[in-house]
């Protein structure tokens, strides 16, 4: 059987889509953090640690939760493969500023988020995943790589399902496209389809 994209989520322009259908939008929020907090509340994600997260983790948590909450059961072996352009430079700059402006005191709360793969860890903790996870940095969305890597994980029996995609945020510019891929009938996992869906 072929590998397919069985569901996908897009978050951009103050809107959240699940499988192409708009499931949340907020026209009033003028900043990313305001919008993502409203989305968190709208989806009743109930994870108080959310408020302490940096922007990248918040975006990943909302996107990942939208996809995982619709499942009857989350496979604890589901692999996570994320990618973006700006890594975690958004929080790194805030962290740097907090040291400079704060008499040399670094904020531990900021510091814990100064790695992009913390976003994967937060999702793993919330959904009790004990699986392969990787976060790649590319100049642009790289569908060929994501297809190859995901296909390899599934075909080599490293994971039956992969939560995968692009999760980019820098200040108020953001774009998330996450999808679940597995061996199934449906939309074929290939570069062309990913480019259509992002």
């Amino acid at each position: 059987m072929k590998n397919s994209i069985v569901s996908y989520c897009n978050i951009k322009n103050n809107q959240v889509f699940l499988n192409g259908e708009k499931i949340f939008h907020d026209e009033e929020a003028s900043e990313f953090l305001e919008f993502i907090k409203k989305a968190y509340k709208h989806f009743e994600l109930d994870y108080p640690k959310f408020y302490k997260m940096d922007s990248l983790c918040k975006l990943a948590m909302v996107g990942g939760s939208v996809l995982l909450n619709q499942l009857d059961e989350v496979d604890s072996e589901m692999a996570l493969v994320f990618s973006n352009k700006s890594s975690c430079i958004d929080i790194d700059r805030i962290h740097q500023a907090s040291i400079s402006e704060n008499e040399g005191y670094a904020s531990p709360a900021n510091f814990v988020y100064t790695l992009p793969n913390i976003a994967l860890g937060e999702i793993s903790i919330k959904y009790k995943l004990r699986s392969e996870n990787s976060f790649f940095i590319f100049e642009d969305f790289n569908p060929s790589f994501l297809v190859d890597y995901t296909t390899s994980l599934i075909n080599l029996n490293k994971a039956e399902q992969v939560l995968c995609g692009w999760i980019e945020v820098f200040e108020n510019e953001y774009n998330a496209f996450l999808f679940i891929a597995k061996e199934a009938e449906g939309l074929t996992l290939n570069k062309e389809n990913l480019l259509k869906l992002i």
């Binding site: 108080p48 408020y51 531990p108």
Partner: protein
Amino acid sequence: MEELKKEIKEKLIEALNLEDMSVEDINDSDMLFEEGLGLDSIDALELIIILDKDYGIKLTDSKDGKKIFQSIETMAQYISEHRTK
């Protein structure tokens, strides 16, 4: 002392991102960790920084932190007795 307790609560809410929580929501005797406000080890580091930066108190023994950070009441008591600024 009441003014100091209020000030500590405001600092906690801001430094620990306790969204949707106001000064009135935190009782002076509420446990700060575990079943109380549910703070974690990273929050404890933030509290240590608040003590140092805002009140000139340097904690060197982690055992002290356990007693001091039990509640707003214990924090305020310790700060009022040991503050250097």
